[in-house]
Amino acid sequence: MIICIILIPLLAGILVPVLPFRKRSHKEIFLEGAVILNSILVWYLLLHHSESTFLLAHFTGDLNISFRVDGMSMVFAGLVSGLWPFATLYAFEYMTKEEHENTFFLFYTMTYGITLGIALAANLLTMYFFYELLTLVTVPLVMHTLTREAILASRKYLYYSLGGAAFAFIGLIMVIVYGTTTDFILGGVLDPGKIGDKNNILLLIYVMAFMGFGVKAAVCPFNSWLPQAGVAPTPVTALLHAVAVVKSGAFAIIRLTYYSFGTEFLYGTWAQTTVIIVVMFTIVYGCSRALKETHIKRRLAYSTISNLSYILFGAVIMTPLGLTGALTHLVFHAVMKISSFFCAGAIMHQTDKRYVHELNGLGYKMPCVFGIFTVSSLALMGVPGLAGFISKWNLAGAAVNSRNSLAYAGIACLLLSALLTAIYMLSIVVRAFFPGKDFDDGPIQNVHDPNWKMLLPLFVFTVFIIIFGLHSQPIVDFFYDVATGVY
């Protein structure tokens, strides 16, 4: 069953260029069907999961590829499978303007399976395996347009990701050697008997592995690939570079921190201090860069950088509450950011405009898109009543609760970042809706909202932003249960 849900997207992806589709709509139906079917299977699996581990293959020695559904996997797999059908729907419409559609959908759909593999991995090795595969599968998506810019971006993406994985790999080795097992067990698997006096080395390795996985999560100074990767088609930027790929990085860090090294080992050490400082810096850095950036997608990408570090900030507080906060933001940010990216994509698709200063007055021509963009901006800022407020609240609450003065400073970073978020997001909104007195709307006379395939996902995400904002208690409770190991 578990292997099934990883394989279905892979197969579906491979079949896209192979099968002879007579009409484009047939292909769409096939893909959407496969993706939805898979998502249903995922949800079924998550809701009826058993504790048992599914062993796929022995790798070498006692290392094996195996899968298991636990709380964390439920969160991530649930998130991914929830977003993918919508993103695919959106991609159909968006890709009408791009070339090499088949290649695109091939890799796009395969990525789904790989991401689920990361989510469902039962041990560090399996996760690492899928983590590397994810890099490889997504590279063709980044270089999809095959322009010089895209090539450079994908190159950088590869260097960064593979390089990061190399350091994460060292962490993997440490866990293999000093742990009792590589399986994910909440609280960590390190064996104090084996560690002996090597505490500091292990901590150093943890920091290295953190930075290694952090490459995907765009931790400063390893973030510059993300804005560049924005040359990819928007469905990719939105789903992969705001959710699947980057969240895999965050997910991996959470796994590493909570399930492999264990918070008990790390809490209060210099390693924790280091990573908190790095994360705090990234939060502020990402926002400031977003402020300076005038390309819409790159601006959002920088925003993602900052927001990813919110997640990591929660994670490195290293308390159950911190993890709860991190998970909350993991899920909520996914919805908010994918929504804003899709808006940006819709704008590009409808108007071919990609710089902030070109957006003047579009708000009245594309009210739905910009309305939704406004909602997601407000949510990202953390306006109460929308999803972003709740996740920030949980993060800050965890920071306050941790009684760690560095975490207090982290709260300040969060708020500073919120302010900057407001500036860079709302300046877009203001431009769109308040173009100024002498604005001439002649050139954009024919611009209008996109069709339902683009709007439906947007509306659904918006509804979720609001629902999460107003009634988050059940899901936050669930996250807390995950964080405390109930699931």
């Binding site: 790798f59 595969l133 994908s154 590869l158 260097y159 060292i170």
Partner: protein, 497 residues
């Protein structure tokens, strides 16, 4: 003694004689003979391996039935047989994959000469693998050098001759040192057979006599073999030699010849000096440091390189650095990792060379990156194979490179003091590998406006494509089911002692 025990001797002789026979055959026939010989040796090694795995212990074969310490001996264990089998597979694939290129690059009349050299090379490799006698080893090292030199210069252009000269000079320096070290060892122990030397050495160590000459001798042998296997900083000859010779030669040279020397070094470490004694010298630290430096600087040079073949050649420098780093750790695990990496690197590097030739073919024969743009689309098989090889080099799971990285890292963790350096350099080196290999992969999948070069389909290059696929399969086999191989290596090392 079972009949199977004759196989090592048979295979050495077979290849040696077939070399001689090739000299009077026309090119095409020589090719057939060569293939048959390689295949036959491969089969024999395979049978031997199975036999040895069955009996579980190594055997010694007296040449001409003269007993030790007078006679010349051949010794075969799991590791030797496995290595021989593997060498045959790689050599066969490399030959098959590069055959079509041979006709373009080598004069028609010299084809049979080429096969002579290959056969001689095979025999010398087999001898290096099997021999139990130090001086025999030296002689075959020289034969190996000569035939390798011939392989480099068989393509008669200025570069290759110059490369051959440089290669010769470095090799001769290396073998001179090896010979000198060997003589000192003989002086100290009075023996030439490895097992006998080892006994004497352990006696010497216990009595504490002749410590310095012993170390000098070991150091000389090590340095000699390091030079020959192009450990950083003795790698200056390598890029030209690998970069400009015909593709089969390059593949064989990089994946087998240097590995033969390394294997000899392993034998010396285990069978001549003794693993523990060797580890107590400072030599391993030196090897470790140079290994690490090789990993970094080899990759750095590769990054700067603008020629795909030379880039792959520089990458070999880095990979050899890995192997020596494994030696330098001075643990059984490190040694296992190194030996696995010998296999993994041999499989990958020859794949890369063969795939690279497929790519350059569709780019007007140019090896510059700028011309290779989009080559992956023009020759799909080579493109995919090159990508697979690159991923293996970078250490992506599923491929053999990952396993060797895993083994190295696991070995490193167990070594106090060297752990951090090894791990960090491993990480950095992976990053660097990623940079130059991925740069190339992306380059071959980028699109140029200029599509004047022809596309190649499967029909045009069946053999080439099949070889590439086989290489990839070997690679993935090593990557996925590495445990039997690792077990075998461990078993073989146990037989060494």
């Amino acid at each position: 003694m079972d009949f199977v025990c004759n196989f090592p001797f048979f295979s050495i002789l077979l290849s040696l004689f077939s070399g001689t026979i090739c000299s009077i055959l026309p090119g095409r026939a020589a090719k057939v003979v060569n293939r048959i010989v390689i295949a036959a040796v491969g089969v024999m090694s395979g049978i031997l391996l199975v036999y040895l795995l069955g009996t579980g212990e190594s055997f010694v074969y007296w040449m001409g039935h003269f007993p030790a310490p007078w006679g010349n001996e051949i010794r075969a264990g799991v590791l030797e047989a496995g290595m021989a089998l593997f060498f045959c597979i790689i050599m066969y694939l490399s030959m098959a994959g590069g055959a079509h290129k041979l006709f373009d690059e080598v004069e028609e009349s010299k084809h049979n000469l080429y096969y002579i050299l290959i056969n001689l090379l095979l025999s010398s490799l087999l001898a290096l693998v099997y021999t139990n006698d130090m001086f025999t080893a030296y002689v075959f090292v020289e034969i190996n050098t000569i035939s390798a030199c011939g392989l480099i210069m068989i393509r008669q252009v200025g570069r290759t001759i110059e490369a051959a000269v440089r290669y010769m000079i470095m090799s001769l320096l290396g073998s001179g040192l090896l010979l000198f070290g060997l003589c000192i060892m003989y002086d100290l122990t009075g023996h030439l057979l490895m097992s006998n030397i080892k006994e004497s050495v352990s006696v010497l160590i216990q009595t504490g006599e002749y410590q310095i000459p012993l170390i000098v001798s070991v150091a000389l042998m090590c340095v000699g073999l390091c030079i020959k296997s192009a450990l950083f900083p003795f790698h200056a000859w390598l890029p030209d030699a690998y970069g400009y010779s015909t593709v089969s030669s390059a593949a064989i040279l990089s994946s087998l010849v240097s590995k033969g020397y390394i294997f000899l070094l392993i034998k010396i470490i285990y069978r001549v000096i003794g693993f523990d004694i060797f580890n107590n010298t400072r030599i391993i630290d030196v090897l470790f440091v140079f290994g690490l430096m090789g990993m970094i600087f080899g990759s750095l040079s590769a990054i700067k390189e603008n020629d795909i073949r030379r880039m792959i050649a520089f990458s070999s420098v880095a990979q050899i650095g890995y192997i020596y780093m494994g030696f330098g750790m001075g643990t059984q695990a490190g040694m296992v990792a190194s030996i696995f990496h010998i296999l993994s690197h041999a499989a990958t590097k020859s794949l890369l060379f063969i795939a690279a030739i497929g790519l350059t073919e569709v780019s007007g024969g140019s090896r510059k990156f700028i011309d290779l743009t989009g080559a992956g689309y023009r020759n799909k098989w080579a493109g995919v194979a090159f990508t697979a090889g690159s991923l293996s080099m970078v250490g992506v799971p599923l491929f053999s490179g990952f396993i060797s990285k895993l083994l190295f890292a696991q070995a490193a963790v167990q070594v106090e003091g060297k752990m951090l350096a090894a791990l960090i350099v491993l990480g950095i080196s992976t990053v660097l590998n990623a940079i130059y290999f991925m740069k190339t992969v992306i380059r071959i999948y980028a699109v140029t406006g200029d599509t004047s070069y022809p596309c190649i389909t499967f029909k045009d290059m069946k053999v080439h494509a099949v070889v590439l696929v086989l290489f990839v399969i070997v690679n993935i086999l090593l990557g996925v089911s590495s445990q039997p191989v690792v077990n075998m290596i461990e078993q073989g090392l146990a037989m060494f002692a």
